[in-house]
Subunit: 226 residues, 2 copies
C-alpha cells in the first residue's frame, strides 16, 4: 500500500518520497478512513500544516506521477489511493479452514475426495498476495510437531492450492493410500515410484509406488502465529 504498484515480490524499487509526500499519503489514508470520502486540497493543506494549496497540488502531482494515487481532474475530492482503501477488500480473501494435517499421527482423510467436500471448521482471512490469486485455495492447520523438518510447526496454518498432479520439488499434502496417512513433504517423481522428501537432511525420504500416493494440494503459503 505504501509502495508503487508491482514491487512487492522483487524487493523494493521504491523511489524516495519526501517527508511531506509521506505525510500527505498518510493523511490521505486516515482522512478517507475517518470520513469515507477523500479530502480536498485544502483539507490536506490544513491537515498537514502546509501554507499553500499549490504546494499540496504540486506534491499530489508528484504522488500521481509516481503511481501512489489517482486523481480525477477538476473533480472535488477526486483523489484515490491506487491500491488502497476502497479496493482493499480485494486484497484479502477468506479461505475455508478445512481441517488438520499431521505427519506422524495420521489423521483419517474425511472423504475419498480429500478435504474438497468437507465442511469448513472455520475460515481464515489472508492477503491475496499469499494466494497469488489462485482459486479454490483452502487452509489446513498443522497438528503435532512432526513436521518441523519442513519448517512447519505445530499450529501453523498452511494454505494449499488443490492439485492432482504435483511437479517435482512442490511441497504437497500427500495421502499414502495403503496406510491412509497424510503428510506434508516435497514431491519428486522417480520413475514408477515417488520420493517424499523431508526438508531436513537428518531425516530419510519416503519412497512409495506412484499409485499408492494421492496428491491433494500444493502448499503456497504458511502462516504462523507465535
Amino acid at each position: 500500500m505504501r509502495s508503487p504498484p508491482s514491487t512487492y515480490q522483487e524487493g523494493f524499487s521504491v523511489k524516495k518520497l519526501s517527508t511531506r509526500q509521506q505525510g500527505i499519503l498518510e493523511f490521505l489514508e486516515s482522512f478517507i478512513d475517518e470520513h469515507g470520502y477523500p479530502p480536498t486540497v485544502r483539507d490536506i493543506q490544513h491537515g498537514c500544516s502546509i501554507s499553500s494549496t499549490s504546494v499540496v497540488d504540486y506534491n499530489l502531482r508528484h504522488l500521481e506521477r509516481e503511481g501512489y494515487i489517482n486523481r480525477d481532474p477538476d473533480v472535488s475530492r477526486g483523489i484515490g489511493l491506487t491500491e488502497g482503501s476502497y479496493g482493499r477488500r480485494d486484497n484479502v480473501v477468506s479461505l475455508p479452514l478445512l481441517g488438520y494435517i499431521a505427519a506422524g499421527t495420521p489423521i483419517p482423510v474425511p472423504t475419498a475426495e480429500g478435504w474438497a467436500s468437507t465442511e469448513p471448521l472455520d475460515s481464515v482471512d489472508v492477503p491475496t498476495y499469499l494466494t497469488g490469486g489462485r482459486r479454490d485455495v483452502y487452509a489446513l492447520k498443522v497438528k503435532g510437531f512432526s513436521m518441523i523438518d519442513a519448517l512447519i510447526d505445530e499450529g501453523d496454518v498452511v494454505v494449499l492450492e488443490p492439485i492432482r498432479q504435483a511437479q517435482n520439488n512442490d511441497m504437497v499434502a500427500a495421502v499414502l493410500t495403503d496406510t491412509n496417512e497424510v503428510t506434508l513433504k516435497r514431491f519428486y517423481a522417480e520413475g514408477s515410484r515417488v520420493r517424499l522428501q523431508p526438508a531436513n537432511s537428518q531425516m530419510e525420504p519416503i519412497y512409495v509406488d506412484a499409485d499408492k500416493v494421492e496428491v491433494h494440494g500444493r502448499v503456497v503459503a504458511v502462516l504462523r502465529i507465535m
Copy 2:
C-alpha cells in the same frame, strides 16, 4: 445493506423507499465502487435522470432521515452509506516492512535505536489476527538461509512487536552489540548472561553477557510465500 439500520428488528417502521430513492441508493453504491469517492448532488442528478438538484437533495434528506445514508452538511460529496462499503477493513492492517534480518551474515543495524526510526522500505498487509491487535508492530524480511533452524526460511516475513525486555522462550530479534550482529533466536536469561538458543538441536546456543545484548523485538508471526 438494503435495510434501514436498527429499526428493522422492530418490524414495521420501515418506510418504503420510492423507486427514485431506491435508484439513488443503487447509484450511490456503484458510483462509490467505481470512482472511490461519493458523487455530488449533480452526479446523482444526471446519473438518475433527475431534472433538478433540489429533488436529489430532497430525496437524500429522506434517505438520511430513514438511516440509509450519512451526510456531512456543506461538504462536497459528503455522503456515505451507513453499513456500507467503508468499514470492513478492520481485519487487515498495514505493517511497515523496515528491512532485512539475517543470522549468518550480519547486517549493520541502521541506528542505535534499531529499526524503530528507520524509513520503511515497503509495507505488508496482514490480517489482524496475526498481530493480535498489538501496536507499533513491524515486519522484517529474512535474508539468507541460516535461520532454517528457527523454522524460518529465506524470504519469510517475520512480524515483530517492539519490546526491550524479553521473556524466556521468546523468539526475539537480538543485536550483539560488540559484533553488531543481529539474529533471530529464542531468548533465555541465565544469571548475568543470556542464552540465544536455535530451534535445532544440531546447533549450539550462543552465550553472551546480558549487557552485550539488545533485544529489539519479539516475533509474533511468520509469513511464507512458497
